[in-house]
């Protein structure tokens, strides 16, 4: 299983991850990030892209 960890002390809720990988990350009505803690392999490309685009590089993936 692939585990996603967002470092909340870094995350600034820009929501770029939710644009890159909407199946995994979304912004709630208050503009705060919510995300799936585990993802299937099929979504890994999307997740890699979210990791790349995060302006503060707060997203980490463990396989």
């Amino acid at each position: 299983m692939n585990t996603i960890d967002v470092d909340r002390s870094l995350c600034d809720n820009h929501g770029q991850c939710a644009i890159a990988a909407p199946a995994v990350f979304r912004m709630n009505a208050e503009g705060i990030l919510e995300y799936e803690a585990t993802v299937e392999d099929a979504l890994l490309d999307e997740v890699e892209e979210a990791i790349d685009v995060c302006p503060v590089q707060a997203i980490f993936l463990k396989n």
Binding site: D12, H14, I19, A20, A29, E49, D52, P55
Partner: protein
């Protein structure tokens, strides 16, 4: 644009179109102490860190700049068509779709590969003036560096840089107060940039490589790709959005360090602080002095009723030096500070920030290592503080260090 709808008597008022309006002024600091926002002659201004941070990402605010041409009485033409269809002003899924297709080319891993070229370029530019002990920093460094970085990224021959710089600056006139008078020049420059972009696209489509534009041409997400028109619009946006900003920010960086010579010495000794130097300059002396948003619906924020259509200016320098978030707001390369909003934030967060951060964090320590004691030599000229600021001319003198 909208007329101010708020009329609260004890809220500060700022005339942001007064040419002498200054961001780094006592008037602004005392306004920030008085209230988290100010009224202006064009909507609201948000002055404090927490409020700027929250409103920048608020789903109730969208890009306010879509209406800029119309606000200036421009309702058609090449510039208008380009502006109203580019990433910066698109919203919702239209925006996100383009952003997803552009993102992979801007991967920080790919940009790292360009760093040696940035260093080579910076050294070449410094070599040309180091013996003289003086230079015009904008003309001799900031402008050629910012422009040639873009030509390196886009794979345009570097010798073309003066032309690209001129075209981008001409399009930039569209953001100034004389937009309407400059319209013919702006239209001609957009047409010329279109030609450049179209040629680049054709070239890479015929013979794609590993370079940046090839990656854009080949970009594909779940079978979706950018049309030729979308590609062209995006390339012109990168030229337009990446050049003057970087040039101005480098000029402002030099100003910041001339005001804080001990920080310059520190950077000369510790080139590993290049990244921190960029963040500290952009927090305390950003070129983009405000980001513009517009309310898509009526809403209330911190007790303030904001009517649909209200223009909201999110002030960057003011928020980046707000004592509530930065008890010691001065520039300090060794300090630990909250992130600044000099690259905007939220869905429109600067797409090119990894490029800008990578090139400036190479340039600044390299300059510090080679130029000791830079100081003003007289004759500097500056853009006004509204919108995008920075030096137009910055003559400096220094002692050669290396």
């Amino acid at each position: 644009m909208s007329t101010p709808t708020i009329n609260v008597p004890d809220v500060p008022y700022l005339d942001i179109s007064d040419p002498s309006f200054a961001m780094q002024s006592e008037a602004l600091r005392s306004a920030r102490e008085q209230s988290w926002y100010a009224r202006t002659n064009f909507g609201l201004a948000v002055l404090r860190y927490d409020e700027v941070s929250k409103l920048l990402k608020s789903p109730q605010l969208i890009q306010g700049s879509a209406k800029w041409p119309a606000h200036n009485g421009v309702h058609g033409g090449l510039f208008y068509d380009w502006w109203t269809k580019n990433l910066l002003v698109l919203e919702g899924e239209d925006h996100h779709r383009i952003r997803r297709l552009l993102n992979p080319a801007f991967s920080p891993r790919l940009i790292k590969e360009l760093v040696p070229r940035f260093q080579e370029l910076a050294n070449e530019l410094v070599d040309a003036f180091i013996e003289a002990g003086e230079c015009e920093f904008v003309r001799d460094f900031a402008e050629p560096y910012a422009t040639r970085v873009l030509t390196i990224l886009l794979g345009i021959p570097e010798s073309e840089w003066p032309k690209i710089a001129r075209l981008a600056s001409t399009v930039g006139l569209a953001l100034g107060v004389t937009f309407k008078q400059d319209l013919d020049k702006v239209e001609a420059a957009v047409a010329e940039l279109y030609e450049y972009a179209e040629e680049l696209i054709k070239d890479r489509q015929a013979d794609p490589g590993e370079d940046f534009v090839s990656r854009l041409v080949l970009a594909n997400r779940d079978g979706d790709r950018l049309s030729d028109e979308e590609l062209r619009n995006a390339l012109v946006l990168l030229i337009f959005g990446g050049m003057d900003t970087t040039r101005n920010q480098l000029g402002l960086a030099m100003q910041s360090f001339m005001r804080n010579p001990e920080q310059w010495e520190l950077l000369a000794r510790r080139p590993d602080l290049g990244g921190k130097a960029v963040e500290e300059v952009m927090r305390t002396n950003p070129t983009v002095t405000w980001v513009t948003r517009e309310a898509v619906e009526d809403f209330t924020y911190q007790g303030l009723f904001i009517e649909k259509g209200t223009t909201v200016h999110l002030f960057t320098q003011s928020s980046g030096t707000d004592p509530r978030a930065f008890p010691d707001p001065g520039m300090d390369l060794l300090g630990e500070h909250a992130p600044h909003y000099g690259f905007g934030g939220g869905v429109h967060h600067c797409l090119g920030h990894f490029v800008a951060r990578a090139d400036m964090s190479e340039a600044l320590p390299l300059l510090a290592r080679r130029l000791a004691d830079p100081h003003l030599a007289g004759g500097d000229e500056w853009l006004p503080d509204s919108g995008n600021t920075g030096p137009v001319r910055l003559p400096i003198a220094f002692t050669k260090r290396a």
